[in-house]
Symmetry: C2
Subunit: 205 residues, 2 copies
DNA sequence: GTCATCATGTAAGCCGTTACATGATTGC
DNA sequence: GCAATCATGTAACGGCTTACATGATGAC
């Protein structure tokens, strides 16, 4: 249940620790999906992932280096670090880290062939494609390509049947063009997988 | 509640009567949305629309002309017609017709400015745009255009920030291209609304 | 006479949102 | 001191899918 959000969250945590509030922005900015998943989805999902042992709450590191204002005194930071706060870091933050079992689960979810005809979950997998082996990547891309080719065929057929008025036909034709655009995207990715060593796998950190 | 499915169903019924089973295929083929809405959505929606007085069940015309096998005896047809079956036509079909109140409701729903940032509901409205006045059409298109321009800007910004790996960036860039494609579609529609009398409004029947 | 398709409906459950409730931190 | 934002969580509810249950019609 909730597999695609699980995949997205675990994918973010593969990179580094996050707290819940932050995850929402990262989902939008790094994984490109959905305009803002609500906290009403994120927090329960994190709680469930923790219960299942895929993530764990960790003590938040103070991360002085990331604060661009150099005027922050080390003293204040130290005071905060010494607060009683048990599992919550500085502020009320609850920082999560992916566990080994979580990494296994992530590998399962991302290579699970379910729901390939879904554009959202395909985009998500591609945004996380650096964690896939080259052969899994190519397999995923090829499946998606076949899927899109099929849909394009059906839409082209539909757009031809002329019991449609101009507006409805225009919608169909634009839909077909959008599918064509995605096919050419997939083809580009496939080409760069096949031709050479991947220029895409540059790591973020 | 359930406004977008209501709009789609009423939109189909604006054209002609339909029964539930048929509506699913029409949703896909004429309105271009969703790969097959499930019957578990359609039948309850029709029942609710009937309760609310927006549609009514009508006696299905027997449509003998459509039966290619001439061997059907009038006797059998008469027997069936005399069956207790109250609202069901030939076979178990329940054919629905839009009411006057339903037409009002349709006009309300399609011109309601809610949920314009949703691609699905915009496509649906465009597929039904022949039922809109020219000024409502233009208004809808302009709002959508502004919306898309904003999203494009945000995505372009995102794609530039270089803490993304190549795959994630590729996802972002493709997303931006898809938005661009939709913008040019909207622009085409706007141009054909403005320049001349609409060549798109050709009626289906 | 049997099988695929047409046809309608209900029940359970998933997944997500909105609204609510609470409080800390930071900037001014 | 006050407001905006950061931060976490719960409860209610909405809409859609899946699975189930049933039966008629048409083709062969």
């Amino acid at each position: 249940m909730n597999r695609v959000l699980d995949l997205a969250i675990l994918g973010l945590l593969m990179d580094r620790d996050h707290h819940g509030y932050e995850i929402r922005a990262q989902l939008r900015d790094r994984l490109g999906l959905w305009s803002n998943v609500s906290f009403g989805s994120i927090y329960p999902a994190l709680a469930r992932l923790e219960r299942e042992g895929f993530v764990e709450a960790v003590a938040a590191e103070v991360k002085l280096a990331s604060l661009s204002t150099g005027s922050l005194s080390g003293e204040r930071a130290t005071l905060r670090a010494l607060r009683p706060a048990p599992a919550l870091g500085r502020k009320g933050r609850k920082v999560y880290r992916i566990t080994d079992r979580g990494r296994e689960q992530f590998a399962l979810l991302i290579s699970d062939p379910a729901t390939l005809d879904d554009s959202k979950s395909f985009s998500l997998r591609m945004a996380l494609a650096r964690y896939l082996t080259p052969s899994l990547r190519v397999g995923l891309l090829e499946q998606r390509r076949a899927n899109l080719a099929q849909r394009l065929f059906e839409m082209r057929q539909q757009a031809k049947t002329d019991d449609l008025d101009g507006y409805a036909r225009s919608v169909m034709e634009h839909g077909a063009k959008a599918v064509e655009l995605e096919i050419s995207w997939v083809d580009d990715l496939l080409a760069s997988e096949r031709n050479n060593q991947q220029p895409l796998a540059r790591e973020a950190n």
